[in-house]
Amino acid sequence: MLSPLARIGRFSLEQLAGMGRMFLFLFSAFAWTFRPPARLRLIVYHVRSIGVDSLSVVLLSGVFTGMVMGLQGYYSLRKFNAESFLGSAVALGLLRELGPVLSAFMVTGRTGSAMAAEIGSMKVTEQIDALYSMAINPIQYLVSPRIIAGLISMPLLTAIFDVVGIYGAYLVGVGLLGVSSGSYFAGMESSVVFHDVWSGLLKSVSFGLIITWVCCYKGFNAPPMATGVGQATTESVVLCFVLILIWDYFMTSVML
């Protein structure tokens, strides 16, 4: 029987070892990215799968997030007779925080989970062993192109989320609640600086890395049993959400 202290120690060591394995996996994926052959076709395929296939859910969530922000922002700002600041409030909120974080959540749910399930299923059905046996490194074939595709797709999706969000808020604030169109965009123009835009996009690039890294890793290490793929998928989604929020805090505190 282990004492509670020993159990805590063992748990901590296991977690540390797990983190170590995750980082080694990431380093290996980066190392394989720069070794021939270049897998441009696969990168394009995964940009399509992460980017284009997530587009509808990003558009839908973007427009409704903007509409909610328009509503909430209008009623909050009206208390201070500051409705004309609606455009600034919505744009800053979306560009710096909500755009990158919510689009990353959408991509995690839409594509990250599928990624973990696909790779997990390949592991369980020995397809990954088959790649090794054909002298093809599965990290180079399966993981590196997905990570590159994640780095490319996420800022594009975030930019789309930001734009449709701003127009969603415009629809509610200007179209329904009577804020002037001129003040909506003028406020935005005067308060949003380039730093706000690129800090959000930089976050989205790092979220793209987190999503593809975590989901590929979890799929690659799916337990070889019937429930293994489901377990890997669930763990990858939960871990992505948590890491995105934690990493968002650190990036925000550095880039403010």
Binding site: A130, A135, I136
Partner: protein, 248 residues
């Protein structure tokens, strides 16, 4: 051609291989038999370093593959073709693309040459005209055939078969055995089959080795093996509940 020397492998504290010594002759088909969970697949996966041993070595053409770096190991792996238990075809590709995959990845063949080779292999395994189908759209037997076509696409010197007839009915199992024999006659590869499909698998085997309790209990030509007086072999072949092998 392949020599296994004092191979040990433990999983989670449980010793599966406890000092395997085995020689696999070039150009012959050797079948490794043994009870379920005896470590046959584990042993097979050591032959092309899909698993690495805790101790011992695997010599392929005199080279210890357990000590090779990635690049050298890949060179050795190109000598191998593997038919996995569930065929392990890539789900996202058609049967044609699965067979073409190693050719496109590992050779400089033109797409015309690839097409010629793939169509030839698919025809040899009885899948002519079926290349457009995805693995999910075909039966277990067809998957195994496509897996065999992929394993033979690169004309390997050594082919590993992991339980090639598992999950198939006796007639389909027999057809897969015949196919393996036919392909062996055509290509002359060194074959290693892991199976407990007894005695059917003996028809296509030149040699048989039996794995029991983590070691090779008996190995020899098929005739010698069948006539063996070894108690472990006799109990296994006759399916006796009583004997040196523990039956749960």
């Amino acid at each position: 051609m392949i020599k296994v020397v004092d191979l040990h492998k433990t999983f989670g504290g449980q010793a599966v291989l406890k000092g395997i010594h085995l020689e696999l002759e070039a150009g012959k088909v050797t079948t490794i038999i043994g009870g379920s969970g005896s470590g046959k697949t584990v042993l097979l996966k050591h032959l092309n370093a899909l698993l690495l041993p805790d101790r011992g070595s695997v010599l392929v053409d005199g080279k210890d593959i357990t000590k090779l770096g990635e690049r050298e190991l890949n060179e050795v792996r190109r000598k191998f073709g593997v038919l996995f238990q569930g065929a392990a075809l890539l789900d996202s590709m058609t049967l044609y693309d699965n067979v073409a995959f190693p050719l496109r990845e590992k050779t400089k063949m033109s797409e015309n040459e690839v097409r010629k080779r793939v169509e030839e292999r698919l025809a040899q395994v009885g899948l002519a005209g079926m290349g457009y189908k995805y693995p999910a759209e075909v039966s277990g037997g067809m998957k195994k055939r496509a897996g065999l076509a992929r394993a033979l696409a690169m004309e390997p010197e050594i082919v590993l078969f992991d339980e090639p007839t598992t999950g198939l009915d006796p007639l389909l199992g027999k057809s897969i055995h015949r196919l393996i024999r036919k392909m062996h006659t055509t290509f002359g590869f060194t074959g290693v089959i892991v199976s407990h499909d007894i005695p059917e698998v003996f028809e296509i085997s030149d040699r048989v080795a039996m794995l029991a309790n983590g070691v090779i209990a008996e190995a020899g030509s098929t005739q010698e093996f069948v006539a063996s007086k070894n108690q472990v072999v006799r109990q296994f072949l006759q399916g006796d509940m009583e004997g040196p092998l523990t039956v749960l």
